[in-house]
Symmetry: C2
Subunit: 83 residues, 2 copies
């Protein structure tokens, strides 16, 4: 079965996000005010084969923990759907 | 009213995604096989004030078109929820 995983990897709350701060300033210069907070992370889409949803989830979780996210500075969320 | 916008900015399908290709290879080296496709983009969370949902959406759309996404190479999707 084919599954599609949508993964978001974001800087954890305790960590400053200078890229987000720069975008907030950019939005202000563009005339978009009343922006309280901007945080920027990665969005990753993985299309993979797995026997069932549990196997797909185990693969995606391993991928996030071992390769995609730096768990000291980032946290990840994902959802997995059959393709 | 406060709203939270979740924005995904992804490379368009017609464009090669070398970062995604590198991650696919990395997953293979990690023992995670049967991965068909990996694409990597940005995930942006914006917390903003707006009078109503329509105003919030207009702000977020302008931000995506004018600042966040390069529409020649990227496409964006967003959803906006009251905070």
């Amino acid at each position: 079965m084919q599954f599609v995983a949508n993964i978001n990897i974001m800087p954890i709350k305790e960590i400053l996000d200078p890229q987000g701060k720069a975008v907030k300033l950019g939005l202000h210069n563009l005339g978009i005010d009343q922006v309280d907070d901007v945080r920027i992370g990665k969005h990753i889409t993985i299309r993979l084969e797995a026997a069932d949803a549990a196997e797909a989830e185990s693969k995606v979780k391993t991928a996030c923990e071992k390769l995609l996210a730096n768990l000291i500075m980032e946290e990840f969320t994902y959802d997995i759907q059959p393709a």
